[in-house]
Symmetry: C2
Subunit: 374 residues, 2 copies
């Protein structure tokens, strides 16, 4: 965009000059207004309406995405920054959401640690050589995120450029427990038997594994922030399989170390599912915003974690299969529970389901904006 | 067992005679002491120690069971009262638990409703013609439990005879929601998309389905009680996929109707998993004892549901993979949270996992008895 330099430019005082330069920077680089509703809500400041985005807002439910997936594998899309950026930006235009989330996967940092990933269409990610012993843990490689995951940071820069300051960009990674459980189980799991067996029978190996993952996540997320991520979300998607006591002993210290290692001043969203019985501990582990799933009432959860953190959530993704009137009613119920308190970011309680009609997502976003307008 | 009739028998008063006859009945028929610790705990009375049993205490982890399964299919075992009774009684001898639970399946009453079941070894129960529409619901058959499930009641009578009053026998069924979700999904599910779609898009068909199931469960459980079940457990195993609001609207009225329909005076255990955010509503639906999974602290859960009901749980089944010392420590932690309050029945938070060493189960039962002895 060409910038016109007014004739009076050289007559300004230094302070006026700095203000002018800042204005020029906003016009020439993809700055985001720091008072954008999403960023303001992350600081628990008042916003004109409740900001909303959706986990997996770029995904199979969207025709644009399915067309790309017909030509490229999931990992190929992650590794091509031009396409990853396109996928990141599309839902912002299409849905009217208040934040973009980088198109990537929670497990990407495992590959450079020496663990090849396979994404099957049905079963989700598979790891053919799971990590089950102390010796397996010791074989994990040190990794340099800048070198091995440069495609992620390129995608962030390209996404920021394409977003052009319209909405903030969220970076993310899996949390230590969720990454560890994938590594140990070799994929998704119902009862997490191998993970818990390792934890109970070789607590030293478990601690080493969690420390290695925590350190890797810190480096990876800080590099995302350097590349331009304006907030980060830590997905502890499977932590809801843990008892509160085991969470406190085997998970909390490592999630806390992860969050403490992140660049100061960048909001951290700490998300998990099945966490209704863990919320106080999750809050103790850290995060500016606690992300909920739908299996707990938002007001009761917020009371538990305390009003000195924000809250994100928490519509059941399956609710988007309901007729739009019912969706609107459910949105209203969640906004009522949030009570207009600053620091609520509307979201689903987990990712958008593949069968979701895109019109229903749009209806949800509109309902959030309309019903929360202050 | 021969009963010696003392010579002075005919000299007793009527009251003395009645007492004598009751004593004789105890010797000649499989009566259970109504003050047995399990039954007393169901009434929240003081017991000399905390009673304990395990969900799926007869199962694949046990060699005796695997030997039978090598010769018979799962459904065959359910349908042969002699074998079902043998499987029911074995863990009482082997583990020293304080209650037997009938060997059966939560879905058995679906077959006589016209829904054939298949138990695959890996995927659990499968229903090849799922119920997805109002027309499917209308096709469900009326059933007469006494006629179509007589093998269950025979197994109960044989189990009572074999237990010979040693410990009480628990009967059970799936709860309306869990049965409905199996019917609609056609098996287990991760996101319960079909179930929720039916619920949201055709609430009338959903209500009819839940009412039909609730009525069937009432008849089935009351027939189990008539046959000799001394307590019943309602398994709402998958209800943890629901938001509190949806639970209240689409599930609670039907579970409540089920529990209200049961024979008075027989304790009802109301169990679910993933219910940390639903506990107050589950308690509102009913039950003398609320069964917890392990993903919530027992003391916090009991405080939520209120001390006017008992509580059952809540060791993580995966904890039985830990070394016995660690198991003992975890048992102690749960007993500490229960605080010796009358009305606690120790159990796992879900069924015993197939990989569990039987010695670990025995160590757990011993730890519960020793550490809770008052």
């Amino acid at each position: 965009m060409p910038v016109l330099w007014p004739i009076d430019f050289l007559r300004r005082t230094p302070l006026q000059l700095e203000a002018k330069l800042s204005y020029v920077r906003q016009l020439t680089s993809p700055m985001t207004n720091p008072n954008h509703p999403f960023l303001a809500a992350c600081r628990r400041e008042k916003t004109p309406y409740t900001p909303v985005w959706l986990m997996r807002q770029a995904g199979r439910y969207m025709e644009e995405y399915r067309e790309l997936r017909a030509k490229f594998s999931f990992l190929d899309l992650c590794k091509r920054p031009d396409l990853a950026a396109e996928i990141t930006v599309t839902p912002v235009e299409r849905l009217g959401v208040d934040a973009a989330i980088l198109f990537a996967d929670i497990l990407l940092l495992l590959e450079p640690m020496g663990v090849p990933l396979e994404y099957s269409s049905e079963d989700g990610p598979l790891i053919h050589r799971p990590v089950r012993t102390g010796a397996d843990v010791d074989r994990l490689k040190e990794f340099d995120p800048e070198k091995s995951l440069s495609f992620v940071f390129d995608a962030i820069r390209k996404s920021r450029a394409a977003l052009n300051g319209k909405v903030p960009l969220i970076g993310f990674s899996g949390a230590p427990f969720t990454l560890a459980s994938y590594l140990v189980e070799g994929g998704g799991s119902r009862s997490y038997v191998h993970t818990k067996r390792l934890m109970y029978s070789d607590p030293g190996a478990w601690r080493t594994l969690m420390e290695r993952l925590s350190q890797a996540i810190v480096e990876y997320l800080n590099a995302q922030i350097t590349a331009g991520a304006q907030a980060v979300q830590i997905f502890d998607s499977w932590v809801g399989c843990m008892s509160p006591e085991d969470y406190q002993q085997y998970v909390l210290p490592h999630t806390r170390a992860t969050i403490r290692g992140l660049t100061q001043g960048i909001p951290v969203i700490h998300f998990g599912t099945g966490t209704a019985g863990l919320l106080k501990l999750i809050r103790a582990a850290g995060g500016d915003i606690i992300g909920l799933d739908w299996r707990v009432n938002l007001d009761e959860a917020w009371e538990q974690v305390g009003y000195d953190v924000g809250i994100q959530g928490n519509l059941d993704p399956a609710a988007l299969l309901a007729p739009p009137d019912e969706i609107r009613r459910k949105v209203a119920a969640i906004l009522r529970r949030a009570g207009g308190r600053p620091g609520h970011i509307f979201n689903l309680g987990h990712g958008v389901l593949p069968d979701t009609p895109v019109e229903h997502v749009i209806a949800m976003v509109e309902a959030v904006h309309e019903l929360s307008a202050r």
